[in-house]
Symmetry: C2
Subunit: 94 residues, 2 copies
Amino acid sequence: MPTIVVEVMPKAELLDPQGKAVAGALGRLGQTQSALANVTGVRVGKRFEISIEGEADADALAAVRELADTVLSNSVIEDVVGIHVQDAPSSAVA
Amino acid sequence: MPTIVVEVMPKAELLDPQGKAVAGALGRLGQTQSALANVTGVRVGKRFEISIEGEADADALAAVRELADTVLSNSVIEDVVGIHVQDAPSSAVA
């Protein structure tokens, strides 16, 4: 059962308050951990995993692209930055 | 200025209410659009883009992995499913 991944990020030209908050928190942590001191910005977006029946063929991808543009993202403030197929739902990296 | 992408998804064995809501909405839309009728599940996670100064070398990736595990994800309910480097912040796909 293939999984189609849709990635949505806030538009680059808009303020991302959630990302700003994370960057601020990292900055405060970074005062004691030098590896974090060189983070210059954080943006937070969404990642959808859509499981479908059947083949992840061009028709399925076109349908998901349509979905991504109309339902999964708000085109006023967000961009769909990636749509790709993976074979199975994600599991944790080691 | 390289960007490190961190992908966080809810653990596979846990209910994802946001994903269920999206799947339900797609199901209702799918009654008139047959291409959506074969969606069997949706899970919603987060995607962080972390801009850093300097090189995205092993040290930087190790620092970001540490961050991902401690700050960007809640290990009780979420898994870090991917950490990778991209050259620039994402822009919209055509």
